[in-house]
């Protein structure tokens, strides 16, 4: 049992880091945001006991170890991991020498995509956004925010972007996806508002995906376990990239940027090869696609790194990233979730200049950093 000490993992101390995926948890959920909504809506939610609803997943999709959050990331004062902004700054940013963290609230996302009705989602989305601006962004300027939109109502979503989008710490619009492909004109009012405010669209699984009717569903059928579902969640990313390009979204909104967060990225290379081949053969069906799909994706779309896949030979991952190019990846931790990646242990085999692109440059030029 006695083995020599292994050195602690470390990283280049000069590496600057933007973390594109951090999840704040609003302690007490809907109850916490009552002060940020009209009285009549507060009374509606109280009467239907919305403030004590657990919003639990069905049993078969509960995490096999009982918690999607890291138990070691619970704040010392108690509460759920990710619920105390002061502790999050210390435990994530300071501990890992991260300069900026982009907050994305999945409670808002799941309520907006699925768990609340359309009118409820409009009120709740604004209330959660205002709560986070008021109670989180004021804690530390390093905390940036991907504001949510009530995606069941595109016009209300656009209005929410114009209402709040000028806040200097808001760097993106978090769009809770529905089972409507991203190229569909349903979404275009939201894209128009985001482009107008110079904010990228950030998409991330919101929680009810592949569980309920409403959000994107895994191809081919409903998975049977947490493990099965987890592995298939990337499929919506692949379908969305394809849809965005061929429907002409980037011709219609030439300054629009999209970042796919936590959908993986190793599927991108074969997808681009297939999109490019098919475009060269049949481009006349979609003549508004004026150049190769590869060019649109490189110009407009980025992908977050977590959860990094782990081939048995780590160099295989480095090789695939080299084939993809280094301009499309943005580092993310997914703190405080169980499958998080920390900067000191991530992509250590890449050359220094390429790591700098992935950990800083690509995100800096994608988000509205000021």
């Amino acid at each position: 049992m006695d083995m020599p000490e292994k050195p602690q993992t470390s990283r280049d101390a000069t590496l600057k880091v933007i973390d594109c995926d951090v999840h704040p948890y609003v302690k007490d959920g809907i109850k916490s945001v009552f002060p940020y909504m009209p009285e009549a809506w507060k009374q509606r939610f109280i009467r239907k006991n919305a403030h004590v609803s657990s919003h639990a997943r069905p049993l078969k999709y509960e995490h096999p170890n009982g918690n999607v959050n890291r138990v070691d990331a619970r704040p010392p004062c108690g509460g759920v991991s990710g619920s105390d902004p002061h502790f999050l700054v210390k435990d994530l940013l300071e501990q890992n020498k991260i300069q900026h963290a982009v907050l994305n609230c999945l409670q808002t996302g799941s309520l907006c995509s699925t768990l609340s009705g359309t009118d409820e989602s409009v009120v709740l989305c604004s209330a959660f956004n205002d709560f986070l601006v008021d109670q989180w962004l004021t804690v530390d300027n390093r905390l940036k925010f991907a504001m949510s939109v009530p995606s069941q109502d595109p016009q209300a979503s656009a209005a929410e972007i114009r209402r709040l989008g000028k806040h200097p710490q808001i760097v993106a619009v978090s769009l809770p996806l529905l089972n409507i492909l991203m190229g569909n004109r349903y979404w275009w009012p939201i894209y128009a508002a985001a482009q107008e405010m110079d904010l990228p669209i950030l998409v991330h699984v919101t929680g009810p995906d592949s569980i309920f009717y409403g959000p994107p569903i895994s191809a081919g059928g409903i998975p049977d376990s947490y493990v099965e579902r987890y592995v298939t969640l990337c499929q919506a990313g692949e379908s969305s990239v394809n849809s965005l390009v061929f429907s002409g979204v980037f011709e219609k909104f030439p300054r629009m940027k999209v970042i796919f967060v936590e959908y993986g990225f190793l599927w991108l290379l074969p997808l681009l090869w297939r999109m490019d081949r098919t475009w060269r053969q049949l481009r006349h069906e979609v003549p508004w696609v004026k150049k190769s799909p590869v060019e649109y994706v490189h110009a407009h779309i980025r992908f977050s790194t977590q959860p990094l896949d782990e081939p048995r030979e780590p160099k295989d991952l480095d090789k695939l990233i080299e084939l993809m190019g280094y301009d499309q990846l943005c580092f993310s931790t997914d703190y405080p979730h169980w499958d998080n990646d920390m900067p000191g242990q991530s992509l250590r085999g890449l050359p220094k200049a390429e790591r700098e692109k992935i950990f800083w440059d690509n995100a800096y030029s994608t988000f509205r950093m000021r």
């Binding site: 049992m1 006695d2 292994k6 602690q8 993992t9 070691d72 499958d339 000191g344």
Partner: protein
Amino acid sequence: MGKEKKQVEVGKIADFPEGKCTIVEIDGKEVGIARLKNGEYRAVRNHCPHKGAPVCKGFISGTMVPGAVGELVYDRDGEILVCPWHGYEFDLDTGAVIYQESSEKLLMYPVEVRNGEVVVTV
């Protein structure tokens, strides 16, 4: 030339409840002391060899033995340490990841009980 080993008293038996991994500090390093069901102790460096998580903040459990489709066999209760991040299961006898080929192992130190004191050799 290797560093000379030393023995450190980390607490009394009662300080380490069965089935828990209690973290102590030795020379600035966190070490988890686990008391197993059979009365033996394990001393584990609080650093997951997979991605550096504080592995001792996970939980001690048994595990599901690989078996027939649709059947569960639970075994080795209290002998497995589960990492709080990515869920890797480590054998507290060997420090190895169970049921998969991996060179990643927990760093474990010799530990014994002497006159009611738990003593770790580092």
